[in-house]
Subunit: 242 residues, 2 copies
């Protein structure tokens, strides 16, 4: 499995992904699930993926390769984020159909995947899309400013409690990190390292990308702080009265 | 959906269930999912259920009716909790097979359910079982002292952070309530009122049963306290350093 979260807030975008993939419990590996498509000063697009790894790698490969063909619409020349999301959805359909239709008789492997595409193209505001395995997609709004894919339930309560559209980027990233920490503790199929990125609105820069490993000092500290804080808050609850 | 949690701890048992059932989003109703089987001074058995409501109601009905037939092994004369769990599993199989096998052509309704059975029978310690739709079951241990059924992921991180086998019953119930609150906030298919029960080891009493409605003063207070505590803890996190 995987856990990715992306947020589209008033001051910019937040992306955070784990890097674990597993087929069963004994085939565990580390793969980056966050890919940046960038044209200096014109656009930054960030793609996160969860689901069948062969599918998601194929999608990323095809999207990257097609960026070199200026004759066709691609992620580096799409006129707006809507068209970029449509293109990603179309590529997802193409790969999923190709592999599903070619299955040998009776096989029912699930080739599907879910994708998040966020970013900004010059002339538009920041936008974030959730792209379904069917290739269609929805867009985040001020009412629902975040999307999750993969093993999303463990880390949802903390986001629902603290995040809103006007949360500053720094706090939103803290929220994403705690959301991932909660998931890491409860589910083996989500694992370090993490790939995270902060995109300040209108910056057209991908400079705030970070990889967070097991011994990352800040992540280690807030995991510890948060865990201890929860325990201490819990011990201070008023005595049970039912 | 549903969310039920049960804990088997050194000082006794904790049970907490929501009461929402839904078939799609427009057929929502309230049904109790916690049933007590009791023989004063000899045994207390508590059954919690999640899954197809027709199935779980049938199982409870059959188990209750059969308690009146002293010729057969039933929940009120089973010699130990293992036999009681086996009996519940067998009854689950019976109902699920009956309804699944009788489906009209092509229909693939899911008649399955999951069950938790906890309690104490004179001569034994407290025990807790997780019964699968297949009728087989596993038992909680000091290493893994709790089980959840239904919509369990949202409420798992808080339990993993604060609960262990030696947590006192009062705190364990607080943990269960917060776990349910986290679930209620993130998932519409889990809803109030809650049915909860505290069973102190060797008490052979079911007197500590409570129904918690929307305006329950203690639940309202800890929901508020917890929510505010999380927000305040969050605002005090050390500044982001990536």
């Amino acid at each position: 499995m995987t856990y990715c979260v992306a947020m589209c807030l008033s001051s910019g975008l937040i992306f955070a992904s784990d890097s674990r993939t597993n087929a069963g419990v004994d085939h565990i590996a580390t793969f980056r699930k966050l890919t940046v498509f960038e044209e200096e000063g014109d656009r930054i697009l960030v793609l996160q993926s969860a689901g069948n790894l062969a599918t998601t790698q194929s999608i990323v490969n095809l999207l990257q390769r097609r960026c070199k063909d200026a004759e066709r619409i691609n992620l580096l020349n799409a006129p707006n984020m809507y068209e970029a999301a449509r293109l990603v959805g179309e590529t997802a359909r193409e790969v999923i159909h190709r592999d599903s239709d070619a299955q040998y008789g009776g096989s029912t492997t699930d080739f599907s995947c879910s994708l998040l595409l966020g970013g900004q193209i010059m002339g538009e505001d920041t936008r974030l899309f959730y792209i379904y395995p069917q290739g269609n997609f929805i867009e985040a709004t001020a009412d629902t400013p975040y999307f999750q894919i993969g093993e999303s339930k463990y880390g949802k309560p903390i986001i629902d409690r603290v995040l809103n559209y006007h949360t500053p980027l720094e706090q939103a990233m803290q929220c994403a990190l705690i959301s991932i920490d909660s998931t890491l503790r409860s589910n083996l199929s989500v694992g370090l390292p993490l790939d995270v990125m902060i995109y300040p609105r209108n910056s057209f820069s991908s400079s705030q990308q970070y990889r967070i490993t097991e011994d990352h000092p800040y992540f280690t500290m807030i995991r510890k702080n948060w865990g201890e804080g929860i325990t201490s808050m819990f011990s201070q609850l008023p005595p049970l009265e039912l």
